[in-house]
């Protein structure tokens, strides 16, 4: 059973200090970039040691999930601070000042081709972050799709589209319409962090993505229809809790889920791990890997 950790990973204490120093004029952007590289190297090492199937660079330079794409596109800007769901973390809402169009794709991480997982905002989430000043379909076609294309050509093993709003809205029509604008051949997954996915799962069975990510700290196992046709990215690490999960409990849960999801199950956090400190995230990744190993041994 595959295991990996898409999304924004927490910064190390050293990187936190470096970015604070940068804001206070006490260090240079180059020094922060160097510390970021060290953090990425360390994160890759942690993921390899944990035996994870796909590697992430942790998006350690990203200020929020929307900002890099907003900055890489014409017609978009980012300014007002806006709370991210029911967390104490904020993103800058996207301002639309023209027809959005990706001008220069966000660079792919420097990781082996086919072995890395990238994360992007889903088109619907992007539209919501822009207060629907532009449609999800338009953002899908003109911003997200070319970015997906660029990362696919750069060797992405999987691109996870983070969609935190749809589960709370409970309606999939607009989302499905936007997803239809994305490259059909790209290795895509749609993740629904921090929300009860029960109402959406039936409609998403036909979504043009290979896998659906479900937060099982907000969604019951019974909500997954028996025989579900898509791979499930099972959110089994609670990215908003400092409590450490039991690898054995994760493995048992995954076995139960696998019985309902013949297309496959992969183990993931239920959202960005940036909501816990790095030391805790690191231990959670280790436990995710151990659960995956346990399942492999049982198989």
């Amino acid at each position: 059973m595959r295991a990996f950790a898409p999304g924004i990973y927490p910064r190390s204490e050293a990187l936190v200090q470096a970015t604070r120093d940068l804001d206070r004029g006490r260090t240079s952007a180059e020094a922060v970039a160097e510390q970021t590289r060290r953090d990425v190297d360390e994160l890759v090492s942690v993921q390899r040691d944990a035996g994870l199937s796909l590697l992430s660079d942790g998006l350690l330079g990203w200020q929020d999930i929307f900002r890099p794409l907003a900055e890489a596109a014409v017609g978009l800007d980012a300014r007002p601070l806006t709370r991210f769901l029911d967390t104490n973390t904020f993103y800058r809402a996207v301002l639309v000042d023209g027809r959005p169009r990706l001008s220069s794709p966000v660079p792919a991480p420097d990781l082996p081709a086919g072995e890395w997982v990238g994360t992007l905002p889903s088109p619907l989430a992007f539209a919501r972050a822009a207060n629907d000043a532009v449609s999800a379909r338009a953002l899908a076609a003109d911003v997200v799709a070319p970015q997906i294309q660029a990362w696919t050509e750069a060797g992405a093993g999987l691109i996870v589209l983070s969609e935190p709003f749809a589960a709370r809205e409970g309606e999939a029509g607009e989302l499905l319409s936007a997803l239809a604008e994305l490259p059909a051949a790209a290795p895509l997954a749609l993740q629904l962090p921090f929300g009860d996915a029960a109402a959406l799962l039936p409609a998403l069975a036909d979504a043009p993505v290979a896998a659906i990510g479900v937060d099982f700290y907000a969604t019951s196992l019974d909500a997954v229809p028996s025989g579900y046709p898509k791979e499930i990215l099972a959110g089994v690490l609670d990215a908003r809790s400092s409590a450490l999960e039991s690898s054995d409990e994760i493995a048992r849960f995954a076995e139960s889920l696998a019985a309902r999801a013949p297309a496959g199950v992969a183990l993931t956090p239920n959202g960005d791990l940036q909501f816990v400190p790095e030391s805790i995230a690191r231990e959670k990744l280790a436990r995710l890997g151990r659960a995956s190993t346990t399942l492999a041994e049982v198989a």
């Binding site: 910064r11 929020d64 601070l81 973390t89 196992l221 400092s242």
Partner: protein, 379 residues
């Protein structure tokens, strides 16, 4: 002479001067730090500031003494820009969450998480029922009281925010995977109750006994989970019920539509001090279309008639210095919507800790000037 007089005030935190940060952290100070202490001491007319500079250069000041100086500087800054109500810029506190979590029993530090951009906060986990041995901020208040003749407003972190910003390894620990929503809500309710009664209330009682006349409960997490706003209200009431002082609540960067009708149950709450400017236009004007950051929320205040509004007129996340005329127009617009200027007082959106003192000085001075312009216009 205008018949309307608004009370201008800050919300809470100011940035800590570099000399304070380095001295308390035990890091070497540089010439620029000494200059900052000297320049601001002179500019704010801080009595005896030469002693501070000398002490910093000699390394002869204790951390406590440095904290005291930072508080005095902050008080003088807030006085100098003309605010009616002041505190000490929370110079003696780490930050609003850690200040409480580090003092109370029952919390354990877990590390740093991001708030936004390159801003972070320390987060703790509750591991047992929280409690305190005594009131936390009485000495801090008494110090401020001794150094100013202005109205003193004491900011305290609210019980709900303490609950929401903490990891829970005690109340809902057994919840986790598969727990019901009702189970999670009840666990959070017990957590809020215990913080309000065992941690916040002893502090409020101690402060008021020491002479504090105005307690501000900060609840930036108030609408994080809209269904839990009643817990915010419950926490406020349990922490302040029957206390003989002015009481208000500060909330920011939130969905204010979630506050009503629950906030009508706030007992004896003077006002809600809210952030507005962050979501507003920077153009002048007093029409609805000129003030997109204010219209919707002020409509709620008008509709429900309670409580009063502490009108955020400064965007604390930008170095943009709001012209006095923009402040004036924001106040005039609010007065027009509410139809009753008596329900309005004036403040920044939130604490100004992310701005330099230079920017803070200009922003607050313009806020006061703009407020006076609004008073003239209304008079």
């Amino acid at each position: 002479m205008s018949g309307v007089r608004f009370i201008t005030r800050e919300i809470g935190s100011l940035a800590k001067p570099s000399w304070r940060v380095k001295a308390v952290a035990g890091r070497p100070l540089e010439e620029s730090d000494f200059s900052a202490a000297e320049d601001w001491g002179r500019r704010l007319d801080v009595s005896g500031h030469e002693e501070l500079v000398e002490g910093l250069r000699a390394g002869s000041l204790s951390k406590s003494q440095v904290d005291d100086w930072a508080a005095i500087y902050a008080i003088r800054l807030l006085e100098r820009v003309g605010l009616d109500a002041v505190y000490d810029g929370e110079q003696k506190r780490t930050e609003m969450y850690d200040h409480v979590a580090a003092f109370a029993d029952g919390f354990e530090a877990r590390g740093i998480v991001r708030s936004f951009d390159n801003k972070y906060y320390a987060k703790a986990a509750v591991v047992e029922t929280p409690s305190v041995a005594g009131p936390q901020d009485v000495k801090e208040f008494e110090f401020v009281r001794a150094y100013t003749d202005r109205v003193v407003k004491v900011p305290l972190t609210g019980a709900y925010t303490m609950e929401d910003w903490s990891y829970d390894e005690h109340y809902g620990h057994e919840g986790g995977l598969g727990a019901s929503a009702e189970h999670r809500y009840e666990a959070r309710r017990r957590f809020v109750h215990d913080v309000a009664v065992n941690v916040i209330r002893p502090n409020v009682e101690g402060l008021v006994a020491a002479g504090a006349a105005w307690i501000q409960i900060d609840e930036p997490a108030a609408t994080t989970k809209p269904a839990e706003v009643p817990l915010v209200v419950e926490g406020f009431n349990e922490a302040t019920r029957g206390i003989d002082a002015m009481k208000s609540m500060h909330i920011c960067f939130s969905d204010y539509s979630a506050l009503w009708p629950a906030v009508i149950e706030l007992e004896d709450c003077l006002e809600l001090q809210l952030e507005f400017a962050n979501r507003d236009s920077r153009e002048l004007g007093t029409k609805d279309e000129d003030r997109p950051g204010y219209a919707e929320t002020l409509g709620l205040f008008k509709e429900h008639g309670y409580p009063g509004v502490g009108l955020g007129v400064l965007d604390i996340h930008s170095d943009f210095v709001e012209p006095a005329e923009l402040v004036r127009d924001r106040i005039l617009y609010a007065a027009g919507v509410l139809g009753d200027p008596e329900r309005i007082q004036v403040n920044p959106d939130c604490g100004l800790r992310t701005r330099s003192w230079e920017v803070v000085y200009e922003k607050l001075a313009n806020m006061v000037h703009g407020t006076r312009l609004a008073e003239e216009a209304l008079g």
